[in-house]
């Protein structure tokens, strides 16, 4: 039996109180590949990622993570274990420090001593070492985003979802993010992210979905979509 893709969206639609946020989206993200979702504000990018992360249930269609529907109890349990999701607005415990958060994630995922090593590495990589004793409300928005990314990359996951991950990040940290994503993808993790910043390495992204008002405007390989008419017409390049 063939291994199911890390993520499959089959004719997925979602409405909010009669407003259609997403309509008949088809998307397959194999393991070890990277997909990018682009579009103007309000085009349905965040809804797509939330559906993929099981945070929203589709009003039509099917969402599967590693072959399991995200709407079933077993599927939800699997999503909690294997999907790492970076929100557009990071959430933290107000009473735990930067280091506490990483220690918490490492222990909750059973990383043991490996967690200590990886925590120190991620604190260095995301420039958080000197702020390990800070509480979240003492961090700038960029540093909060770095903390969210460090927590995300610390936990083991088969599918990484990132909503606007470059928001508030400086160019150096954006470089670190792309490098880390590339390494995770090469190690077999599937990656899906949305962004407006197109300064990532050309070989990182395998497929691009262009959304406009909740409808797929274009979908294909990176070079093919970037050369296509949709991204230009929508002013995304």
């Amino acid at each position: 039996m063939a291994t199911p893709p890390a993520l499959r969206l089959d004719a997925v639609g979602r409405e909010f109180g009669g407003v259609v946020a997403l309509e008949r989206l088809d998307m397959v993200v194999p393991r070890g590949s990277c997909a990018m979702v682009v579009g103007r504000n309000g085009s349905g990018k965040t809804t797509t990622l939330r559906l993929a992360a099981g945070r929203l249930d589709p009003t039509s269609g099917i969402v599967e993570v590693a072959g399991r529907r995200t709407t079933t109890e077993g599927g939800r349990r699997h999503v909690r274990r294997s999907v790492a999701f970076a929100l557009d607005a990071p959430l933290f415990y107000p009473d735990l420090t930067v280091e506490d958060h990483l220690g918490f994630v490492a222990t909750a995922h059973g990383l043991g001593d490996e967690g200590v090593v990886r925590t120190d590495d991620l604190l260095d990589r995301f420039d958080l070492s000197r702020r390990r004793g800070f509480l979240p409300d003492q961090l700038s928005s960029g540093m909060r985003q770095k903390l969210q990314l460090a927590c995300l990359f610390l936990r083991p996951s088969d599918l990484v979802l990132l909503d606007e991950p470059t928001r508030a990040l400086d160019p150096h940290t954006r470089g670190v993010l792309w490098e880390t994503l590339q390494a995770r993808r090469d190690a077999g993790t599937a990656v899906v992210f949305s962004t407006h910043q197109l300064d990532f390495p050309a070989d990182l992204v395998d497929q691009v979905v262009v959304l406009h008002d909740g409808v797929v405007a274009d979908h294909g390989g990176f070079a093919e979509v970037m050369d296509g008419a949709a991204v230009t017409e929508l002013g995304l390049t």
Binding site: R77, R80, Y93, D95, T97, D100, T107, A108, H109
Partner: protein, 537 residues
């Protein structure tokens, strides 16, 4: 306000007039009318109060409760301690609010404008100091009334001078709070030295009790207590002289404070405007927890986060306990406050021999600190952080969130028993029973606090519908203490009944303690069930 020219005043007036004209809020006349009404209400209530006190004191029907001469002689030193505690509290208040408060729109629009700071903020300072004086005056009125009831001679002088003296003291404390508001260094020092200052006050009170010849009320910091000393005939400066000196000092301090107004940093005023706005919103909802969070945020801003040298947790079963312990130890004064309240509550119950009113006060106070210990559980239920970061759900970790509060409460209970035994309040033979009771009640109250924490926040609609809304809100606030009372009082009655029937202390406590622990287990199960149901909803 010397230094400000007429031109400066005119510009500030012009800006104020413009804001008033464009504002959709109450006009100047409305504000004046409202202020006059408030003054009228305060005057009528105060007049009625003073008349009632004077009539009751002079009346032949009511006999004052018998109080020994020793207690009366200790009163001046106790009032000095009260004045010092009020000073510490006032200065502490200066670290996050303070006497000069502006609104958030004013902080955003008026402060950056090129307007004379002393003219702009002068009225605010006078209003703030007036509030400090009012609070001081109310405390003085209460002190004077109590003393007048006991002593019965010179009641008018006693009530008038304590009210005036404490009012001046309040104003003086307000100027100290302004100094704190104006200086980061002083604010940090006040935050760090408050526990030491309170210990010094306690030591001074103890010293004054064992060495009556010290007469602490004869020193400048004891002037507010001079009327009490005269009333109970222990000597000291004349009440009118001491009060006059206090009023003169407060007046000079106020003049100096008006000169210092230009020294307050904008960032401080902006921070305090945000804090004051959030505090009023929280106070309207009786949300003491939100106010405590704001206070802690203000402290963090000044002195940073307390370092907690806890080892990293490597095992799943220690994950939540480590997280909660770190949170508890990082909150300044949380452990100390818990221990002090539990020891004081246990002392109250011991001194009054387990009398029901003392028990009620003790249980309500202890349930309050228990409620603060379950803060991590509340956070867990408010924000889905756990599910974002880990494969766990809040319902998976709910019982674990009760572990640290239960252990902390039980430990505080053990400390209370140790203090009781060492001070001789507790008979040696009763110590094992007291230990068992303290541990069982501590665990029970922690579990009750956990169950209370699973409630949703009160909806804002309750505020909009004045009639049932306020009652619902008050009900929401008192539900925690009521639950604690409903759980503890029957057990206490059972212990009292067994003791009255001749049972040994340990025998009398064993059964109710076992019941308390079983009920605590049941409450933990109920808490977990409610968290699960909240997630399903």
């Amino acid at each position: 306000m010397s230094g400000a020219t007429g031109n400066d005043r005119d510009r500030v007036r012009a800006v104020r007039a413009f804001v008033r004209q464009r504002s959709s809020g109450p006009t100047g006349r409305d504000i004046l009318r409202r202020f006059a009404y408030q003054v009228y209400v305060v005057a009528v209530v105060s007049g009625l109060w003073v008349a009632a006190v004077a009539r009751t004191i002079d009346g032949p029907r009511l006999e004052a409760p018998p109080v020994s001469g020793d207690v009366l002689a200790d009163l001046p030193a106790a009032v000095v301690a009260l004045a010092l505690v009020l000073t510490v509290v006032g200065m502490r208040l200066g670290t996050w609010t303070g006497p000069v408060l502006v609104s958030r729109p004013e902080a955003a629009w008026l402060l950056p404008a090129p307007l004379d700071r002393r003219v702009l903020l002068g009225r605010r300072l006078v209003a703030g100091l007036g509030l400090f004086a009012l609070v001081g005056g109310v405390v003085g009125l209460a002190v004077g009334t109590v003393v007048a009831f006991e002593v019965r001679t010179g009641a008018t002088t006693t009530v008038a001078t304590t009210t005036l003296g404490f009012g001046a003291l309040g104003m003086l404390v307000g100027t100290l709070a302004l100094a704190v508001e104006s200086s980061h260094r002083l604010a940090r020092t006040v935050l760090r030295t408050t526990p030491v200052a309170l210990l010094v006050v306690a030591a001074l009170s103890w010293l004054a009790a064992v060495r009556p010849d010290l007469a602490t009320w004869t020193t400048p910091w004891g002037w507010a207590a001079a009327p009490v000393a005269t009333a109970v005939s222990v000597g000291g400066p004349s009440p009118w002289l001491a009060t006059g000196l206090l009023v003169a000092t407060a007046t000079v301090a106020t003049r100096l404070a008006l000169h210092r107004l230009g020294g307050i940093a904008d960032e401080e005023l902006v921070r305090r405007a945000g804090a004051a706005s959030a505090v009023s919103a929280s106070a309207a909802l009786f949300d003491a927890r939100a106010i405590a969070q704001l206070r802690r945020a203000g402290q963090r801003w000044l002195v940073g986060v307390r370092d907690v040298p806890l080892p990293r947790s490597h095992r799943r079963w220690t994950l939540v306990a480590r997280r909660d312990l770190a949170s508890l130890l990082r909150r300044p004064g949380a452990v100390e406050r818990t221990v002090v309240v539990v020891v004081a509550a246990a002392g109250l119950v011991a001194v009054f021999g387990g009398a029901i009113p003392a028990l009620v006060v003790a249980v309500v106070a202890v349930s309050g600190v228990a409620g603060q210990l379950v803060e991590p559980l509340r956070i867990e239920l408010e924000e889905p952080v756990l599910e974002e970061l880990t494969p766990l759900r809040p319902v998976d970790v709910t019982p674990e969130h009760l572990a640290v509060p239960a252990v902390t409460m039980a430990t505080a209970g053990v400390v209370a028993v140790a203090v009781g035994a060492l001070s001789g309040v507790l008979d040696g033979a009763a110590v094992p029973a007291a230990l068992l009771a303290a541990i069982a009640v501590g665990v029970l109250l922690a579990a009750a606090a956990g169950l209370t924490a699973t409630r949703e926040s009160p909806p804002l609609q309750w505020l909009l519908h004045a009639e049932p809304g306020v009652f619902l809100l008050v009900g929401w606030v008192v539900a925690g203490p009521l639950l604690a009372l409903a759980l503890v009082l029957p057990l206490a009655l059972a212990v009292n009944t067994a003791l009255a029937a001749g049972a040994t202390p340990l025998d009398a406590v064993a059964g109710p303690a076992l019941v308390a622990l079983l009920v605590a287990g049941g409450l933990a199960w109920l808490t977990t069930w409610r968290v699960g149901r909240r997630a399903d909803d």
